[in-house]
Amino acid sequence: MSRIAIRNLTVRYGKHDALRNMNLDIPDGKITVILGPSGCGKSTLLRSLNRLTDLYDEVSVEGQVLIDGENIHDPRADLLALRKKVGFLPQRPFPLPMSIADNVRFGPRIHRMTREDILRQIGAPADAAASRHAAMDLLVEHYLKQAGLWEEVRDRLHAPGANLSIGQQQRLALARALAVEPEVILADEPTSALDPISAQLIEKRFQALKEKYTIILVTHVLRQARRLADYVIFLYMGEMVEHGPASFLNSPRDPRTRAYVGGEIS
């Protein structure tokens, strides 16, 4: 069984079914793309994978999402550990209301990582930093580099995150998500608000990162799915129509998938 498994998952907004009875294993160490027209339940599915559904009124969740065998929708589940394990990249990047460096530090700081934890996590030698503070600086540099943002912001780490361009903000969001060293990254149309160049930068980052992380990406852009996906899930009106290795997009079986791939619906 793969690490993330969805069992009989149904999500409702009030009386409206946003997702109906899904069953799926998400392959590890790959980029899985959730594809489908807008309003088909893509974001709902993504949010139910780290229980951000809790924040919405009138949302009810039935069924199970198992991560490493633990059902995260169990009220007793350890939410904090879960969310640390699963990183989230929203559609529009929202820098937290603090400086660039503090944005990256936010996760490690609330998880109270010690100097040793930090150095171990970024793979630095144990004597690379004398204090926790210095180690944090190394961590900020490490993850900003991973997100491909370091060169652009190294001179203004203490400027507000809000001052960055939107493309830079999205890479900051990526650095911030990576800094808690998640095992899975959830991304909700992470390039839809970006200009083409920033979007390309982000896509490249994803391809580099899939070595280490399981990435689940929501998009309604077919070409993006073709570029990035190893595995594709096609959703339509709250229902999982088809799923499989990305190659199935070339020969879809279901008429709805065919219509979507053929450009008749979008």
Binding site: D57, L80, I110, H111, R112
Partner: protein
């Protein structure tokens, strides 16, 4: 990790407790008022309390009619003066004046909404009362100028910034698309303002008015200073009146010597709270309906 969770649980519990407590406190306030005014309510039939003008504290007679009429008269007059002017002004600010002027005008209005009522009362004494006195003399009415009319004007002026401020906010919330759609059909700006913007926002506008009404209804100082404070049912604009808040403010300090007086004045407070609460409730419901997205 353990203490992070504990902190979260502890703060969460405290905050939820605080919410419950606030509701409890509000309930207690109402209950306390009812309990303290019970002696008067149980001592005579409620219709004598509400619909009689016999106000003789020393004889234990407390007929609230003149005060109720006084309160309602002043408030209604103030609203009659303020509402048309305020709604038109709000439309003007929201739809007509240039954007670059809108901000300072709104700022000015907001600032005026924060000016203490006692200062409006003072203005009433300096300017409005003498003016009403002269007007009254012109119509062959003598009197000091301390009157229903003076109270209405002062109160109307006082609630204007409140009404305008809320109304402009509501009008600005009308989506631009709605205006553009109508304008592109060849309507004039006034027609758009009336048929599209105002219709779109009418619940919000109503609630602006109701909020102003509630504010005027409970206002004490500004009114007390200019209405003359005489417990009779007024027959003209130049008559003196005596609203409930003024009654309480003027007399509560020396009630201990007369039996039941204290209880009677608290009944006045209870009436105020119930009526103002009802207005606010109405405004709340209307506003909540006009913004379905509000969490």
């Amino acid at each position: 990790m353990l203490s992070r969770r504990k902190t979260d649980r502890w703060t969460g519990g405290t905050m939820r407790g605080a919410l419950l407590l606030v509701n409890l406190v509000a309930f207690t306030i109402a209950l306390l008022l009812l309990w303290k005014s019970w002696p008067v309510l149980s001592g005579q039939p409620i219709k004598d309390v509400l619909f009689s003008t016999n106000w003789h504290p020393t004889q234990g007679q407390f007929g609230y009619l003149a005060f109720i009429v006084g309160t309602v008269a002043v408030t209604v007059l103030a609203m009659a003066l303020a509402v048309p002017v305020c709604l038109l002004s709000a439309l003007c600010i929201s739809e007509y004046i240039p954007t670059r002027l809108r901000w300072p005008v709104r700022l000015g209005i907001d600032v005026m909404a924060g000016v203490p009522s006692v200062l409006y009362g003072l203005l009433g004494i300096i300017v409005v009362v003498p003016w009403v006195h002269r007007l009254g003399a012109y119509f062959g009415r003598d009197g000091s100028g301390y009157s229903l009319l003076a109270g209405g004007i002062v109160l109307g002026l006082m609630v204007s910034p409140v009404i305008i401020s809320v109304a402009v906010e509501v009008l600005q919330g009308v989506p631009r698309d709605a205006r553009e759609a109508a304008l592109s059909l060849g309507t004039t700006k006034w027609e758009v303002s009336l048929h599209v913007v105002a219709r779109h926002a009418w619940r919000g506008l109503m609630s602006a008015v109701v909020l102003g009404f509630a504010r005027a209804f409970g206002e004490t100082m500004a009114v007390l200073m200019v209405v003359g404070n005489d417990a009779h049912i007024p027959t003209s604009l130049f008559d003196r009146v005596y609203p409930i808040p003024a009654l309480i403010a003027n007399n509560y300090g020396e009630v201990m010597s007369i039996p039941l007086y204290d209880s009677a004045l608290l009944l006045g407070a209870l009436l105020l709270m119930i009526l103002v609460g009802a207005f606010n409730l109405a405004a709340h419901v209307m506003l909540a309906r006009s913004e379905p997205g509000r969490a």
